[in-house]
Symmetry: C2
Subunit: 461 residues, 2 copies
């Protein structure tokens, strides 16, 4: 249980915290916008200032793109160190005309604050900042050593994160990471995410003749790289959706009956999900698995983009010289992106017809993550969520990859627990993004309880 | 045999004709260039002026795009009327730095005139103009009624030709058309083209969800329109290249043994052709047919362009909302583009998976053409080529479609014979386009002989 002084501090400082939160939300910290003064730099400086005021040793560190904030408050060598990851950059706000209020002037309606970034991810990591302030000022000290790592380019795919983490590995060293960039499974279902899918993303190009050729003069003579590419893509999956790359399923961890049963009980409304996505049917993936199983525990293969030949309006009668496609696979434990890439390249080579050459470029890759749900850290997290939200969390996975998780795991050796306070109804990445104020209050209690629970556990994790 | 006065006239007026031909070549009559003064208008006015000077009733007629020239010289109601089609517009000249001389300042080197449009198509139709002048001034009169129809937008696909022909159908009426926009099979192989392939060109779109979706969050849940489109394209042909659209081959005229044998004797160098096209192998089309058979006498299916999802540099992890492809079929006698479109639409509907809708738009279509090689008109043409070039013409087909041929056939009821004087080595559509002067002289003799041979035949065709 969280000590009364800390809980009281959070309770009595709501107005002050809300006012600070609004300051953070007013920065239009969109990573792909270049402006003067740069709103990302301003947001990073503001965060470092707030953390320094609380007592952290906080710095804004330059990176190839937008800067990152690292802050550290070291209490005692004997205590474990928890690294809290979040990102201060936000999605672009457009289309602006669909917002009911200014996306960068936070407005409270019906118990929620509306602003770009309120849920993704400023609300979640601000709850952790509030928790550290309350622990220090209400409880007298932090229960563990705490570091913050607040990134500035998450929404554009963290393109400069890896060299940054490499350079500052020591500053980021910790015993455990907690990622505040996830959310509830549903509005009333607080959740802990214990698995992420990995990624292996490829660019494939088929090269046929040197130039586009007249399809009348040369149709029936020259091979067509679009048709060939289509045949290759089609051959990558059978009619049940099973992926035919060599060795693709060799290392896949099968789902336990326990997980299957737990997921079947989660309140997932397929119809509402389809409606929200504007989808006619949720027919992706392999047959023989439930929707959540396909989304969380099964690897997938999707073409992400394709372009070749004449793509403007009307007709142009050419056989294109080349054709290119972007294909990505989402991986699950214990698939290895390197082995998958080997199988992928083999498959492409085997399906490159006579008269063409092919190239495969690995554009990005990330390992899947699957954490034990029985570890002491998970126990600390579950108890914290129970305390903050009054119910046991659902243990869920996500189909997505979080580059920061994979990079920190690989370069700093950190395992991350994902506890975030957003909700699927928060209009994340869409107009009228919002964050329920109740989540901010309960989230900060959860965050403070989590740090305290970690302190009560083993000293090394 | 061509009368001596006409032959002599052509022989003695070479300098004058060449100088006129150079005037025509100096117009940079590129149809997609908008300039003042418009070089296409100037070229059309010049042609009408030259034809009027010879004795034609010549007009420059406006069209939705560049104007067209129609000229008529009516000799006698009892004589047949021959319509001569050509186009005065030319391909753009770029890349300019690869030209050895100014593309619009004709230059003679090694017996050939180098200029954009010299071969395609100014040289060929100018030979017909010279022939009519020689018939009139040397021979005293035209042997038949003659019309010229000189188009200004052939190189951009004749987008405005159909309404123009509809509007001026009466002015274009004739007994027979001769198209001067084809060429020799090889440098020493004068040729008559007796068949064109037809065309049915489609835009297919698969629509899945309302928006692009995150491929991590929704991979395995949402259906992917690129993957589905690839499966559909792949299913359109079997592994031998046979096209699987319902009823596709029902109306195909099989090649005669006579044609097979004749084509096998044509001097076709596959290696040199592959090298000229920058192709690794000439593996398009169906197995079981020779290259010329696949090119001239077999229908084909080619994707001409495809685009969907993210196509810029790097990785973006989306499942696209939709995917679109342009697919065209080249048709041979007696396939009907309407029936082919019906089968195509049926196939697309049958291959649209659950969770998607599809649309098919017919972008353009043209009927195939297959003329008898034994008709009186063909006899006149063969004898004319024999006289002009000193050898019997090869009877060839082309894999391409000529919109003007199809449009005139459909709207004016005209059958066209294709006799042109260009050569595969003329660098048509490329830098340093050229036209052998010998072809201009022999071509004009051929053209004059053809008109005379027609006069000697039946009065109605």
């Amino acid at each position: 249980m969280l000590g009364k002084p800390v809980a009281d501090y959070l309770q009595t400082h709501r107005d002050e915290h809300l006012s600070k939160f609004f300051e953070l939300l007013r920065f239009a910290s969109v990573a792909n916008i270049k402006g003067k003064p740069d709103q990302c730099h301003l947001a990073a400086e503001w965060l470092a200032g707030v953390l320094a005021e609380i007592g952290f040793d906080a710095v804004v560190l330059p990176a190839a793109g937008k800067p990152n904030v690292i802050a550290s408050l070291h209490v005692d060598d004997k205590l474990p160190t928890v690294l809290i990851y979040g990102h201060y950059d936000v999605q672009p706000a457009d289309p602006l005309d669909l917002w009911e209020s200014d996306p960068f002037e936070p407005t409270v309606r019906n118990g929620a604050v509306f602003a770009r970034g309120a849920s993704d991810n400023k609300g979640s990591h601000f709850a952790y900042i509030m928790a550290t302030e309350a622990s220090l000022r209400g409880g007298g000290n932090l229960p563990v050593n705490v570091k913050f790592f607040l990134e500035g380019e998450e929404e554009i795919g963290s393109p400069n994160l890896e060299p940054f983490v490499k350079e500052h590995a020591e500053k980021l060293s910790a015993d455990l990471a907690v990622i505040s960039d996830s959310g509830f499974f549903a509005d009333d279902v607080p959740s802990i995410t214990y698995a992420l899918r990995g990624l292996a993303y490829f660019q494939v190009t088929f090269n046929a003749q040197a130039n586009d050729a007249h399809s009348g003069m040369w149709g029936g003579v020259l091979p067509n790289p679009i048709n060939a590419l289509a045949r290759m893509i089609a051959a990558m999956q059978d009619e049940t959706g099973r992926i035919m790359l060599p060795g693709f399923y060799d290392d896949v961890s099968e789902l336990s009956d326990e997980e299957r049963q737990a997921w079947a009980k989660l309140p997932f409304d397929e119809k509402a999900t389809a409606a929200a996505l504007g989808a006619k049917a949720l027919t992706g993936g392999e047959t023989g698995y439930s929707l959540l199983e396909r989304r969380w525990a099964r690897p997938t293969l999707d073409c992400n983009g394709i372009v070749a030949g004449y793509t403007d309006r009307g007709a142009k009668t050419i056989i294109p010289a080349q054709a290119g496609v972007k294909i990505s696979t989402r991986l699950v434990a214990n698939q290895d992106p390197g082995r998958i890439a080997d199988g992928f390249k083999q498959f492409v080579a085997d399906h490159t017809p006579e008269g063409m050459t092919s190239t495969v470029e690995v554009l990005t890759s990330a390992r899947p993550l699957l954490l034990s749900t029985d570890s002491p850290a998970m126990g600390a997290a579950k108890a914290a969520v129970q305390e903050g939200f009054g119910k046991a969390p659902a243990m869920v996975r996500t189909g997505a990859s979080v580059p920061a998780v994979e990079i920190m795991h690989r370069l700093v050796g950190l395992d991350a627990i994902l506890i975030g306070f957003g909700s699927p109804s928060d209009n994340v990445h869409a107009p009228n993004e919002r964050f329920q104020l109740d989540r901010l209050w309960r989230g900060s209690v959860t965050a403070a309880a989590f740090l305290q629970n970690i302190a009560a556990g083993p000293s090394k994790w």
